[in-house]
Symmetry: C2
Subunit: 147 residues, 2 copies
């Protein structure tokens, strides 16, 4: 638990730095949103972030959540998570786009490498005549705790 907190504190710090060096101000509403996202193990939508962040910073407005999400996504600090029940949730990304493994019960999300995809991409590309430039890969299942 301590490890997680250290990690999320570091992440919060890095995000604030990135915001500053991109010319954005460090405001309390932004920090409130960032605190929540930096330590979440699952994807959250605007309303969920709003509710959680308000516990610490009650004057937060929902609009600021939307605006902060916009900027964090633009800076590639978070990424949108597509899910059968909606596609408006966000999760912290370590290094830009990554592949996700999502627990269908608790929502806990992990990242994984998908290098093994190269041959498949090669094969599909040759077969279809397409030039493949991007790919999305997500796995859904049950995490160790939920099964």
């Amino acid at each position: 638990m301590d490890d997680l907190n250290v990690t999320s504190d570091k992440r919060t710090h890095n995000w604030l730095d990135t915001l500053r060096s991109s010319g954005y101000r460090l405001t309390e509403p932004r920090q409130a949103v960032i605190d929540i996202l930096a330590k979440s193990q699952r994807a959250l939508n605007a309303t969920e972030i709003f509710d959680l962040a308000r516990e610490e910073y009650p004057s937060l407005g929902l609009v600021s959540v939307y605006r902060t999400l916009e900027k964090l996504e633009e800076l590639e600090l978070i990424q949108k998570v597509h899910h059968p029940d909606g596609c408006q949730s966000f999760i912290a990304g370590f290094t830009g786009h990554q592949h996700l493994l999502i627990c269908q019960v608790c929502g806990q999300t992990e990242f994984f490498e998908g290098d093994d995809l190269a041959p498949l991409i090669e094969h599909v590309s040759r077969e279809s005549g397409f030039t493949i430039e991007e790919h999305w890969l997500q796995f859904f299942g049950l995490c160790a705790k939920c099964k």
Copy 2:
């Protein structure tokens, strides 16, 4: 072009049969929506289907488009397509869930097999402790015509 039409006519016929045998009535609004989807090579959203179908069947209501999409999806005749710019488009599926290859310029969509995924799933599963039950895979790129 003739081949495409024959195929889409067959598909239309199959869909209408499936609707009937599931206890749904065969109505003109439904046929109008199905005609459009059965022959489209790219994913369409409700408004696009509405506009296209109205060219042939002008009294069609938008609500019927939504209701028909609901039923076709439930019967697994169409599937939702997730895209960076929205996740409310649908395309005809051949056999339930399949992997998609989408042209970023014209939207033309093809299906491909992803059997090569098995080893990756196995590996991620062992590493993470998850039981993996479902996966999503999509490729984006440029089709032969658009590149």
